[in-house]
């Protein structure tokens, strides 16, 4: 059986990639997708931990797994709202460049 540490390591790498993506991509869509990657990295960690805790008691293990479902649902809701705003912006600016969103400053 693969040790939990490996899953967690993988998840943290995914999380880091997501974070770097947020910082480096200029397209709002790509930024958002990077965030999704980070959320799913967390989901991976949760699942891995849930398996680790499966010996400790049914509720403990299950709660981790159910949390993943809730987070998935939340991510989906975020997509809905985020894309809505994005579309609205795109309609007026014809661009999704986040660096263009710098008119309010100082």
């Amino acid at each position: 059986m693969v040790a939990t540490e490996y899953y967690v390591a993988l998840s943290s790498i995914l999380f880091a990639i997501g974070a770097v993506g947020v910082l480096t991509r200029r397209s709002a869509i790509m930024v958002f997708l990077s965030v999704e990657l980070m959320l799913n990295a967390a989901n991976l960690a949760l699942v891995a931990f849930a398996r680790q805790w499966s010996g400790a008691g049914s509720i403990t293990a299950l709660s981790g797994q159910t949390a993943v479902f809730i987070i998935l649902a939340l991510a989906a809701a975020e997509v809905a709202v985020g894309l809505g705003i994005l579309v609205s912006i795109f309609r007026y600016r014809a661009s999704t460049d986040v660096d263009a969103l710098a008119e309010i400053r100082l």
Binding site: L23, T24, V98, D99, A102, I104, R105
Partner: protein, 642 residues
């Protein structure tokens, strides 16, 4: 008896009421009324003082305390305002109210027609009230109330004709110089409290008597009181204000700057005689200050040309004599000279006032002369006063001055501090006094008429309201001395009278009768030399010698008042003004700017903080990520370290 003595306590109140009435309603009164009110208030005070005086003389007790009301009182704090009427203070009261009354009456004539008539009498009455307070006080604090009070009245009256800048300047100078002395008085009180725990004069005197002879704290207290006294009595180094103070109306000069206020310093030292008797050092300082002042002022008086300034320097010089007296431990002698001086100096000033009145304001003796013929009463009375102050035997000044000389020569208190040198100085000064007073009289009343011819016809003797006081004062100037005939051969009333008030263990060398007569003879010689020299220089030599000496160093030194004004201007006034304006710019430019500069980094930081908000989303994300990474780093490091 006590009740009769206590009547005197109403004297200052009466004067105060007089001042209030004139101050509030004076402008509504017609001319003589304010003067009458003022004179009456002082005159009644004089009567009360006389009653109290005789009551005290007749009674058993030598001191009556009257408590007015508690002043500073809280818990064991206690300071009641109260009067102490004893032989010394009652004598002073007699002088103040008596001479004061005469001068008030004189002023009715002198100030005739002045637009500030009622204001003048308000000031004069207020002065009498304050001066009475000063001498009647039973504590240093109340004495200080009077002390500052007379200073303020002096200020008001010197600057009476305030629209002349010179007069206002003179008043200001007098006030400020006096304030220096007052600061000394304050410090003296502080040290008195910390040393004795009380400000009650009698208690301090008793406690001081119990302290070690010559203890340094007593010396310091003595020196501080001396500082106070030099301010009020125009002694070195604070004498500079008195000549300028002549800017006030002449009766004011007579009352305040000759007869009463300026003697407050002498009174103060006599009042704390037991304290000074315990400290030869401070006493010697008093005596030496007095001696040097007497000499220098007499020297300056030689060359003055203002009829009043000559008298002012004479006053300073005579006050020097008094200081010597109280400095050598002869306290009653000091008061005795205060007493006689009050008459003849007031008389001299009033005479001068009469002259100025007659000459329509002329004050320069170079434009006078020969006035005796035109103003017989003024001339005669002035002559009496001149002879009295010159120390001509059998007149009052002779007795008091001789007593000072004799006691200086025989003082044991300051025997270690060169009392014989001091005696020599005083003897010379006595001769000088006779000389310059002769000059004064001669320049004004005798010799050729140097005033403008057109004045000649209008020349007149002053009205009787002015001459009557002159006559009374002249009589006193003759007789006052007989109250204090030389002790060794004659009955001396004043020494006996004052003894309970100024009793100290100070003793004087007991001389043989012939030596005493020798000392008297020396005094007579000094007066004679001075007068004779004066006669020769001004009558026989017709001033030619003087004219030749006019440009000599000494003459210039004398004319410039020994250069004190210039010196003080350069050493104190200008540096002080410079410091003031310098500090003023330091305050706005350095202190203020400095604090503002201290706050300026806040402004820079604020702009920097605003700049952090770049507007770029990815920069914000970076900041968040850095935050999280730093968190993680801290946690991991702590994990590794632990």
């Amino acid at each position: 008896m006590t009740d009769l003595i206590s009547l005197a306590a109403f004297a200052p109140l009466l004067a105060l009421i007089g001042a209030l009435v004139n101050g509030l309603f004076g402008r509504a009164f017609r001319e003589p009324l304010p003067g009458v009110i003022a004179s009456l208030s002082v005159g009644i005070g004089f009567l009360l003082s006389i009653i109290a005086f005789f009551a005290l003389a007749a009674g058993e007790e030598t001191r009556v305390s009257i408590t007015l009301w508690p002043y500073l009182q809280a818990g064991s704090f206690e300071l009641s305002l109260g009067f102490a009427l004893d032989r010394l203070s009652l004598l002073m009261m007699l002088i103040i109210t008596g001479v004061g009354f005469l001068i008030h009456v004189y002023s009715i004539g002198y100030m005739h027609g002045d637009e500030g008539f009622s204001r003048y009498f308000m000031g004069l009455n207020l002065f009498v009230a304050a001066m009475l307070l000063l001498v009647m006080a039973d504590s240093f604090l109340l004495m200080f109330v009077g002390w500052e009070g007379v200073g303020i009245c002096s200020y008001l009256l010197i600057g009476f004709w305030y629209r002349e800048k010179l007069n206002a300047d003179a008043a200001r100078k007098a006030f400020i110089v006096n304030r220096i002395g007052d600061a000394g008085f304050l410090l003296a009180m502080f040290l008195t409290v910390t040393t004795f725990g009380t400000l009650d004069i009698q208690a301090v005197n008793e406690a001081a008597g119990a302290l070690v002879f010559g203890s340094s704290v007593l010396g310091v207290i003595g020196l501080l009181y001396l500082l106070a006294a030099t301010g009020k009595s125009a002694q070195l180094p604070l004498q500079v204000w008195l000549p300028d103070a002549m800017a006030g109306p002449t009766p004011v000069s007579a009352l305040i700057h000759a007869a009463t206020m300026v003697t407050a310093g002498v009174y103060l030292i006599a009042r704390v005689a037991p304290l000074f008797a315990q400290t030869p050092a401070a006493s010697a300082a008093v005596a030496w200050v007095g001696g040097l002042t007497a000499l220098i002022a007499a020297f300056i008086a030689f060359s003055q040309t203002d009829i009043k300034k000559i008298l002012a320097y004479s006053t300073i010089s005579q006050l020097g004599f008094m200081f010597v007296a109280v400095g050598v431990g002869a306290y009653w002698v000091g008061i005795f000279h205060v007493f006689t001086h009050a008459f003849f100096k007031a008389l001299l000033f009033l005479g001068a006032g009469s002259v100025i009145h007659a000459l329509a304001g002329e004050q320069d003796v170079r434009r006078m002369g020969g006035l005796g013929k035109h103003m017989r009463v003024t001339g005669t009375t002035s002559l009496i006063a001149t002879l009295a102050i010159a120390g001509v035997p059998l007149l009052s000044g002779f007795f008091s001055k001789d007593a000072i000389l004799a006691h200086t020569a025989t003082s044991e208190l300051i025997a270690d501090y060169g009392n014989l040198v001091l005696y020599a100085i005083l003897l010379v000064t006595a001769a000088m006094t006779a000389f310059y007073m002769f000059r004064w009289y001669h320049r004004v009343f005798a010799g050729e008429e140097r005033f403008p011819k057109k004045l000649r016809d209008s020349l007149h003797e002053s009205p009787s309201v002015m001459t009557l006081p002159l006559v009374i004062l002249a009589v006193c100037s003759v007789l006052a001395g007989y109250l204090g005939l030389p002790e060794f051969a004659f009955p001396n009333w004043i020494a006996h009278w004052l003894e309970p008030s100024v009793e100290t263990p100070v003793s004087f060398l007991h001389l043989s009768t012939s030596l005493e007569w020798l000392l008297i003879g020396l005094s007579v010689v000094a007066a004679a030399v001075g007068l004779g020299l004066g006669y020769w220089v001004y009558e026989r030599n017709r001033g030619r010698l003087v004219a030749r000496l006019e440009e000599s160093m000494l003459a210039r030194l004398s004319r410039s008042g020994f250069g004190f004004d210039a010196l003080y201007r350069a050493v104190f006034v200008e540096p002080a003004e410079g410091t003031a304006s310098g500090l003023s710019s330091v305050d706005t430019d350095i202190v203020d700017r400095g604090l503002r500069a201290g706050a300026s980094p806040v402004g820079l930081l604020a702009r920097a903080a605003a700049l952090l908000q770049s507007g770029y989303l990815r920069a914000y994300a970076l900041a968040m990520l850095i935050g999280v990474l730093v968190f993680a780093l801290i946690v991991s490091l702590s994990g590794v370290l632990s």
